[in-house]
Symmetry: C2
Subunit: 351 residues, 2 copies
């Protein structure tokens, strides 16, 4: 289901090293060969090519956004993406949710001895393509190798830096009763795609992860609404429910959502029913929650819908003066229920 990717041949002679060996992380010749032949071949940025311990960047004046995430998802290749594209888009999105323009990423790999070199190359190329698509550069990195059995194939950390335009501050303390809560599209798609794969259900469907970079959406909102954008958040682990709870608690405000207004694809809703999940708690990797001044709700919705990634955006609720710190959902038949944070683990290793 995922779109075909042009995968150039791995420049490392796979006959010599079909898999990762410990010395690829030892700091000597083989480490250098891995960096030169795989990572520099995939991301030929001038900063990375200097092979220094770090990168030095010229940034425009202003505030710096800085965000980190490690990615441990299993399976590592899935419809709609892989651990590499997820690692790029996930951190790009975290920067975008700070109101920033993402600029550069670091990429740090923990590899298990014996990891297939061809898979590493496929992931490196996927990260290259994702970085190009998201308009960021991978400028510095690190590789460690641990013994067989001491890690599960590959873990990736990406950390990003970005620029926050002057005067922009998106953060929970800025929300007020009357603000509108928007979602950029149908929820729960990433989590259900991964969970279906693991459960061996593929539903004879076209279900695929929504993993995507959201910086265009956030930039368009900020450009048009400026200070009327109060919060941006991508509801990943824990889903929309946990993200809204964190915002409500952090702001000391109540949030009310209309369940009927929350978009969910039919297939995803069906899978949620089969698997026993509430879509509000399932992870997303290409959706954002925007909380904006109520008077700008229609304008924000139009801006989101103008972009293909926001074509199915919806206003799903509002900030309210009642029940500070809590999230309530009004059901289709009119009753209200408390939407708490996810308690316990729902989907381990979803990102």
């Amino acid at each position: 289901m995922s779109k075909p990717v042009f995968l150039p041949a791995c420049p490392l002679p796979l006959a010599d090293y079909p898999t990762v060996v410990l010395a690829h992380g030892g700091g000597g010749k083989l480490s250098k060969q891995l960096v030169d032949d795989v990572f520099l071949a995939a991301y030929p940025s001038p900063e990375l090519a200097r092979l220094h311990d770090g990168a030095v960047l010229d940034l425009p004046n202003g505030r710096l956004a800085f965000s980190t995430d490690s990615y441990v998802i299993t399976p590592r290749f899935f419809p709609g993406g892989d651990i590499g594209s997820l690692a790029v888009y996930g951190t790009v999105n975290d920067l975008a949710m700070c109101g920033a323009r993402p600029v550069a990423l670091s990429a740090a790999f923990i590899l298990e001895e014996g990891f297939p070199m061809a898979d590493l190359w496929r992931i490196a190329v996927s990260m290259r393509d994702a970085a190009a698509h998201a308009g960021v550069r991978i400028v510095t990195g690190d590789t460690k190798v641990v013994e067989r059995g001491q890690a599960d194939g590959i873990f990736i950390n990406t950390t990003g830096v970005g620029c926050v335009p002057p005067g922009i501050e998106v953060a929970p303390p800025r929300i007020r009763p009357g603000d509108a809560v928007l979602i950029s599209g149908p929820i729960a798609t990433h989590g259900i795609t991964i969970m279906s794969l693991r459960a061996g259900l593929e539903f004879e469907t076209t279900l695929q992860s929504d993993s995507a970079p959201l910086h265009r959406l956030t930039a368009a909102l900020i450009e048009a609404l400026a200070g009327d954008v109060h919060v941006l958040r991508d509801p990943t682990r824990g889903g929309v429910a946990s993200a809204l709870n964190e915002i409500a608690q952090s702001a000391g405000q109540g949030i009310r959502i209309e369940e009927a207004a929350v978009p969910v694809q039919d297939e995803v809703r069906g899978a949620c029913e089969i698997l026993g999940f509430d879509p509000l708690y399932v992870a997303n990797e290409g959706k954002l929650i925007a909380i904006v001044a109520g008077a700008r709700a229609a304008e924000a919705l139009a801006i989101l819908r103008r972009d293909p990634l926001g074509a199915e955006a919806a206003v799903i609720g509002a900030v309210v003066a009642d029940h500070p710190g809590r999230v309530l959902a009004r059901s289709r038949i009119g009753g209200s229920r408390v939407v708490d944070m996810l308690s316990g683990e729902q989907l381990p290793r979803i990102c």
Copy 2:
């Protein structure tokens, strides 16, 4: 041998959660409890307390240094430090080697289900103390939990940002024949400490890792010598030999060192002989190589020696016009040998 550390009681009720469980990484209530009770308790920075997806920092104008490293060291507690202090000092040092003043770190944890909570707390406190000692703040983070058997206890990624003063550029292309090569103190101590522990040799000694933050040394050199500081590098994995080779190759210049001038503690030299290692290839975590204009060598040496971390600094060689891209060592008895990069793995998981 390591100095006693004041370890405040873990604020998480250990009776309820004596070890990490999968839900500590799930994005819900238990994730929040872990972040609140362990990480926010250890690093109460205002940026981290906002619990947003990233931090927003005010930086002075100028260029940004940006560096990442993952830490997988085993054993995770060792004389002179632990995986937490190493993760802070290692990334602080990478920023310092860019000529930067380190400002802020991210900290991302990959935890194995079942990891002792008390060890996690001990590591968090160690990172707090190390960050305070190095003058940096931990401003954003991430926690993932993988199933038992899918990681070795704890892996930590730290990524750092720092400010490079205007006009400062330390990088291999700046070295010239006649430049002096300095080392800030005795080499191979970190690697030999770890290897001795693993081999069950403890030599009835006071051997301990040299892990330390080097930003004071680099700042003092840059303040006094400015543009005459050509390269700074901390010789970690692969040791002094690999670091000098990388510099020589990257610059297209030759480097000559005098073996007799390279400081090595007697105990370390003895352990190297027993274990069969050349100290030039053994990892350091609190030493730097500085390459400076030849005319400033004595001044640079005096500056390093003024600081306790550089008390045993030495001039160990020079950049030469001969053998570009290669490193030669003159032995105590007058002959010369090629000092190549480390080939293969010497000490897996040394950092």
